[in-house]
Subunit: 211 residues, 2 copies
Amino acid sequence: MTKPAPATDRAAAPLRDDGGAVDALIDALRRLPGVGQKSAQRMAFHLLQHDRGGAEQLALALHQANLRVRHCERCHTFTEAPLCAICSDATRDAKLLCVVETPADQAALERTGSYRGCYFVLQGRLSPLDGIGTRDIGAAELLARATDGTTEEVIIATSFTAEGEATAHVLGEALRARGLRATRIARGVPIGSELEYVDLGTIAHALSDRR
Amino acid sequence: MTKPAPATDRAAAPLRDDGGAVDALIDALRRLPGVGQKSAQRMAFHLLQHDRGGAEQLALALHQANLRVRHCERCHTFTEAPLCAICSDATRDAKLLCVVETPADQAALERTGSYRGCYFVLQGRLSPLDGIGTRDIGAAELLARATDGTTEEVIIATSFTAEGEATAHVLGEALRARGLRATRIARGVPIGSELEYVDLGTIAHALSDRR
């Protein structure tokens, strides 16, 4: 155990009696995002009762991922080699650099199949209230990467949340101060939406950004 | 890996590039109940990006639980000793035996603090459509346990779902055929409910079971 387990809701404990392996498993499962006491219990019981093979597979996968997965030296996404597949791909357009918050966002962009440039993956987004500043998200590494002489345009694809917008603003200013062209992906009405059900801020932006 | 990973939704893949440790982790996380592709991705990224210690803790807890957790010889709940704490507790009323579907249900009953008898934990409930019969849920072990000479009343506390009710019916018949007193926990209106919002079947039962 590398960190102490989070305090568990003792009102909803104790399920084990003498040892603590079930409780330890429930505590560990609760560290997964979106998993509370009840879900963790259900997961632990399911694995122990019906899927011991799955438990062993998960233990191995966690250990292997911890051991082998690191960040790409150029774009900071997850990879097991020094350079990720996209950064090693000579057919990608090195003049375009798309900035995303997470490898998941990068994967979503890749799945569209409509982008052939390079990426830079931040370590999340700015969140001053949580003490997450430019240093924590890797802004300096982005600036170093963007000013390496090949990049002509930086497309900022952070989320359209307050924190994502703040991150986009800060990074955009810093990039423009270094003479780079920084653009932002478009806001607008999602495909398949009926206007009636779209929030007013989005409609207002879709109107002002019309083309 | 003790079992092959389930087929993943390849439309929502590929996140990794060269190796496969991230994908293997996502596949393994998807074996948890209630976890789909998106949640598994989010969990994997969270662990790799922000909580490597949590990943190692979970790997260890899974491995330890797999290694140490077994079923109590008397009541079949999870334990790390041959007998669980409740079965080893001489102050529990050996004349009462409460039958539940899972260790989680047993834990819920224990938390009420209103039951001081013993338990028998089934391996789930009857589900003929899924091929789960009396043999799979441990009915024979229950009958052996209930006819050991100390039990006077078997309280059947399976769920009030169709499958839980069928299980209760089958077990009740078998127990009564062996001259044992088999009772069922009460159906009725949950505490805190307004009648208006309670389903009609429950109200009908609460009426007929009035006391």
